[in-house]
Symmetry: C2
Subunit: 457 residues, 2 copies
Amino acid sequence: MKNLALFLISMFALANASSQKEDSIFIRKISDHMLTNGQAYEDLRYLTKKIGGRLAGSKGMVLAENWSESVMKSLNPDRVVRQQCMVPHWVRGGNDLATAYFVSGKKSQSKKLDVVALGNSLGSMKPLKADVIEVKNYDDLEAKKDLVKGKIVFYNVHFNEKFVGTFNSYRDAVQYRGSGASRAAKYGASAVIVRSMSHSTDNNPHTGSLRYADSLPKIPAVAIGLMDADWLSTQVANGNTAVSVHTHGKFLPDTIGNNIIAELKGSEFPDEIITVGGHLDSWDNCEGAHDDGAGCVQTIEILRTFKALGYQPKRTIRFVMFANEENGLKGGNKYADEAKAKNEKHVFALESDAGGFTPRGFDITASPAQYDKIKSWKPILSDYGINDFTAGGGGADIGPLNRTFNTPMAGLRPDSQRYFDLHHARNDTFEAVNKRELLLGAISMAALVYLVDKYGL
Amino acid sequence: MKNLALFLISMFALANASSQKEDSIFIRKISDHMLTNGQAYEDLRYLTKKIGGRLAGSKGMVLAENWSESVMKSLNPDRVVRQQCMVPHWVRGGNDLATAYFVSGKKSQSKKLDVVALGNSLGSMKPLKADVIEVKNYDDLEAKKDLVKGKIVFYNVHFNEKFVGTFNSYRDAVQYRGSGASRAAKYGASAVIVRSMSHSTDNNPHTGSLRYADSLPKIPAVAIGLMDADWLSTQVANGNTAVSVHTHGKFLPDTIGNNIIAELKGSEFPDEIITVGGHLDSWDNCEGAHDDGAGCVQTIEILRTFKALGYQPKRTIRFVMFANEENGLKGGNKYADEAKAKNEKHVFALESDAGGFTPRGFDITASPAQYDKIKSWKPILSDYGINDFTAGGGGADIGPLNRTFNTPMAGLRPDSQRYFDLHHARNDTFEAVNKRELLLGAISMAALVYLVDKYGL
């Protein structure tokens, strides 16, 4: 008996070692193929340079849907479908303008500020001039609440530079972009200026969505670049400073958007669905190269490579271009809602929406056992730069799937140092993406999808 | 006895845990200080924008020596010294030119090529026009050796894109830059054109040093950008193609260079020396921001931070700007020679010379026990992105120290994906460096120096 047990254990260990070797070899094939034949970079060039910005409801988004559908069809998956959903249709409506008025010596002076209206904000429609009051955080706002009426509240909240991972700084600061306008409107502010969510060394302003509280006045809101923010802070400290803000944002009626979905049918467990994707929409003030053109072209690259290598998945794999992450999450919600309506079985979801930079790990929301299983693949994945397996997180678009079905989810975690230099700003362009970094992200994602497909979770 | 042993083990474990916590806290102080007050980025701006290229023997190098000496003195270390050495003085001597002549349809045409003479190459001094023969590698050269006489040999050796770590591609390809000219001259070639050591998506040519064999004719040698290389290869395949090369490189008499060395004296083991450094020289065709301005300003940043935090090292720490890495290694050789003449005890050396990109690990040449000791600090270092501890490598400038004393050495290993896009090319500029990535490299280096100083190796 003892010998038999030992024999069985040995056989199991051998089989395991042999599987690992087989996995290693296949993932190396994926890597070799992408690094030598990958088209993700050229796809991204098209998406950013020929199409450009593509906010939900915009012409760019329609072009991007058509383009991605056509590219995925050309790769000959088992099917490509559109999943229609209603999306918000916010438009900037014109050039965002701001001018500061201040006294230097005894001379009145003015200076143009580089600003961008926050997404979903309603425009001033005509120049709105008021004195500026600076606050350092919400506690500071509360302390100064009696002084706010009629003024422009300037949230000069610095990104915390001490975090090594920059998403931690974003997590702390983004509330001022999201709810700062309504918090200030509560005390009668006429508008808000928000220091951009960034630690860049330049002056580009960064947009991103705000959410107005329905019960409060919907006041104009702009983000300001870091150099201008520091300058404005000095002026306000020196004495009375007024700013004139002129923005034009408005909502048109909700319109139709589409998730674009390609599918490879599973051979053994066709009812078990693995989702991999990125979001096709971007802000309108940039090319949306890192956010999230990268995630889209990486997703397409995985499909392309699986087809090129003749990979027949055991489970059904869906490659999804989500319709509306930036200002509504209508794409991700629709995907989960339809999955629920059809009683689908979603076993894993993976998103790339943290930039096309060199990959370093995955953020994972899953049960401890599922997390451990993913982490057990580290010896294979670390060959491609994947060392960090962080508990928590995943992706905004796959979040609804996780909440609906408890589907384990993961997000690609690229190096984060450069991301908030360009996130939602005019310099999120194709030129800021490195071809090999982009492809290595796709390789890491393909490897994880392959392992989950083969072994389940 | 058993209880005493248990007690002692418990005390040891507690002391160990307490040390680890203390280390963790101090390294976090280093990190917080650098990420909020670090001056490395502004130092680099000065070195690249105000001084610029600084090849050994050039005016730029003299300015860089003076500048770094002055900056280090201002930080008030125990001493700052110059270590004089003779360095080669190669000059480009003029604009490097190349024009291709080819037939398209039945029409003779010409096209200007973007080339840069290889460092240490001797100029053609007047236009040298000859037919081009392309070779894929040295085996191909040997096969075609009877066809080479009088021709320009075009080494069209592609960077292997399959390696994840790009230094592996460089290792394979760099021999054609280093010895390609003499290998071709052996068979009577009149000049060589080398495909740049890069996998960039642009057309910038990349220089770097060659070494002529003394016994063979010293023929002109240029590097060509990748787009031009692909174009030239197509033309050569289509029929006779001639290229006119006009370069001006020459050696002036050897001149004086200086290693600039700042020192913090050790309190417990002053005779045990730890060296940390980068090389101050760069190629003349670029700002030398990543290669190796980054390593220099990181080194200065460590000194600045140790002083700012009042850190008193146990061992003596030397902060070294090496005088001449690119085309002679005279700085590193001098440093080791003088150490030997003075019978110094060098216990560790660390160099940063692989770019100012986000740090990922260290390359380590040391005994197995020393390697294991360094690797045992991974739990602390991984908080700053350090996960890879690769056996082998270190740095060119500290290599002579390692060879002379068997001093364990390490090299910072930043992410390598972008490095060969700009290595030795005109786009190795300040703008390609990210402030936080640069500082994180300095933090990782400072942490390793601190740990070696505290615990020895």
